[in-house]
Symmetry: C2
Subunit: 413 residues, 2 copies
């Protein structure tokens, strides 16, 4: 029984479950391709070696949620991950979510909408394993050495309430109401075990035009991402280094980066291009023609100046400047209200609270994200226009092989 | 030259300007029809007797902005409305916005996206005319008697920072990045004259299925809206009563209504249906079969109880219970982050900050919105689940007849 057909019923016949299907890595080569002409009935595979929403072609809408675990029982955490897996699996194929404990029915706002390429992935943060030197849930000794809180970066302006988290949920779909419904259903499953610590929604352009989508700086974003299976295995997926439950998994770094759009808009496009290191229109590196042209960091002008300035964002972020460190970026734009229901007053002359919900995926953040960000934090010309207000790191366990298994079962069982 | 073709250039050849075209009122009869299978190249007419985004079939995304005027010169306000009109007109047909005063270029994030059915309307609030008994900009004597701050309603929990405003901007489109780009371009035009007071974005389901979209309560919302030209002339558009600059205009009431989704989700669907007065699945009135079936408020059960309970939302909101008062509802769902960049801490056990960005349009809010809300505020069974956190009322002047005119020119010239 599909969600299209009936309200408030759980389980039943499923369609397009994609059991055992692997993530269609090659589709990542055409960023945004999945977003144009969105088909509400389209599904992304739920079962497979990797969780969804990582190499999945970016959907149009996302909500990221970091949660604190309020229970002190390991079996509650295991039960929650089991329920989340069942819920995410059902929603991914357009079926109604299973009822939450003690609750009567599906909330109903996604009836008739289809799965709209919904993906949900689940992560565990460093604080699930330990608080300081105190193990939690008996997990402390098994904490991967790759999974640690990020160091402070120059220019950080983090809101402690929007930093960290024991667990993460990340839902993406082409319909914002499908995303909302999924998050709501998953949070209902968490009642009494975990609660929202912070959350942030985001969007991508509908990408009518082919090519890499533009961020709110007006520049194409995501151009140099790894795309081949070999590059993803090298840069994104945890391999034999383990631990076992992470083999095929990855580490997520999420940062909310507020942009000073007023200052940015006051610049001539040519000045913006020197800050980024790429042409605004084409996305090509400065001095090149095509978006796909390689970065030539040694090119000099006739006057002997570097064509791509020494402090340009793309130069400092390039693998060649960071011990070959590579990350997979899959970011969304965000725009928040300037006065909120929780009573925050708008700042005088309030500007838009908007920017980038930056998400990167990497095999080992200590050896990729951290060195890249260290390089950027001190010298990046873009830094004048950014304010990092939220930050977290999570381990995303490997994908769920099939029914009967759940995300993180090897960690928690 | 369309926005698709070049970055940062203004003006040039335009397409599908729709000069003189009137709003396609009859399309409102199929709510959501415009939202399914969104065409990025689709345009809504900008010039015509009414402003856009009122009877326009609902787009998928919206941002509403209330602004305070910081200048004390009437000609600055007139200049701003003139620039907003030119900007909104250009963006509506997919052209780049004209440069803001002293700024170099378009921000570029909507290059290649098409107009995506963008509409922008502009309103003036009571506080533009007067502060207390003090006239502003010489406008006090011309303030329409229909344009007054709303009275307090039982259960209001308004954030003063998110209440009122001198001016309003309301952008709607099928692409969230097109909405963002429009708001950004319009706010750039306002620098030095007005600043954001509060803002709220919202979304609608992509409406793959035909029929009325569902709100976050899981119920169809918007069923009994006026749709015929005669009904709209009677309930929505200001007529001969004037003032002249409002003939063909309307009054907007906007309310952010936070929903207690946790309490709502704990109810059986049958209990929810008694609160709303309609069936959740079909949208039909209780005791009826089809969404389009009339409300029979006199029907009784075999036991003598009213079929639609005495405190059901649809009963209390019905025109027959409110001196025939009728409003046009055009609401969006909203979902805000629980911890914001402005530092608001999430409440303990933070729930989702989500609900309804309620927008209604009426010829005279004193005789329609206010009596309906008075009826609802004291008795509506739904009231237990709602918290009104933002509120404002604006006069939306009549539409712009053609180039050379601007929104509100008859008021401000």
């Amino acid at each position: 029984m599909s969600r299209r057909g009936f309200l408030g019923a759980a389980g039943g016949v499923t369609a397009a479950a994609g059991i055992g299907a692997s993530v269609a890595v090659d589709r990542l080569a055409a960023p945004g391709a999945g977003a144009a002409g969105a088909d509400p009935a389209a599904t992304e595979p739920f079962y497979g070696p990797h969780q969804g929403g990582i190499t999945t072609p970016p959907q149009r809408h996302t909500t990221f949620v970091a949660l604190d675990v309020t229970s002190d029982r390991r079996r509650d955490v295991a039960g929650l991950l089991r329920r989340w897996t069942a819920t995410a699996g059902a929603l991914s194929r357009g079926a109604p979510p299973p009822p939450a404990p003690g609750e009567p029915a599906d909330s109903g706002e996604a009836v008739g909408l289809g799965p709209a390429r919904l993906t949900v992935n689940v992560g565990v943060g460093p604080s699930l394993f330990s608080h300081g030197t105190t193990s939690r849930f008996g997990l402390g000794p098994g904490q991967p050495w790759q999974l640690v809180d990020l160091p402070s970066f120059e220019g950080d302006d983090l809101d402690p309430a929007a930093t960290g988290g024991d667990l993460s949920l990340h839902a993406c779909a082409d319909d914002p109401q499908v995303v909302f419904h999924a998050v709501r259903a998953l949070l209902r499953q968490a009642r009494g075990v975990a609660r929202v610590r912070w959350s942030q929604s985001g969007f991508n352009e509908a990408a009518a035009a082919p090519g890499t989508p533009r961020n709110l700086l007006g520049f194409k974003d995501g151009t140099m991402n790894p795309t081949t299976a070999a590059d993803l295995d090298s840069a994104v997926w945890v391999g034999a280094e383990g631990p076992d439950w992470m083999t095929g998994g990855t580490y997520l770094v999420v940062r909310r980066i507020r942009l000073d759009l007023a200052a940015w808009d006051a610049l001539e496009p040519a000045a913006q291009e020197r800050i980024i290191g790429r042409h605004k229109g084409s996305g090509a590196p400065l001095g090149a023609t095509l978006e796909s042209d390689p970065l030539d960091l040694r090119a000099r002008t006739a006057g002997g100046e570097p064509v791509i300035p020494a402090d340009a964002h793309v130069r400092l972020a390039a693998p060649s400047q960071n011990w070959d460190a590579t990350i997979l970026r899959r970011s969304y734009a965000y725009a928040n209200p300037t006065a909120t229901a929780d009573g925050a007053a708008p700042s005088p002359g309030a500007a838009l609270d908007a920017g980038l919900l930056f998400c990167s995926y990497q095999r080992n953040p200590r050896l990729s994200f951290v060195p890249i960000y260290r390089t950027l934090a001190g010298r990046d010309a873009l830094r004048r226009f950014t304010r990092h207000t939220a930050s977290a790191v999570f381990a995303l366990p490997r994908g769920v092989a099939g029914p009967g298994r759940y995300v993180g079962d090897e960690l928690l069982a």
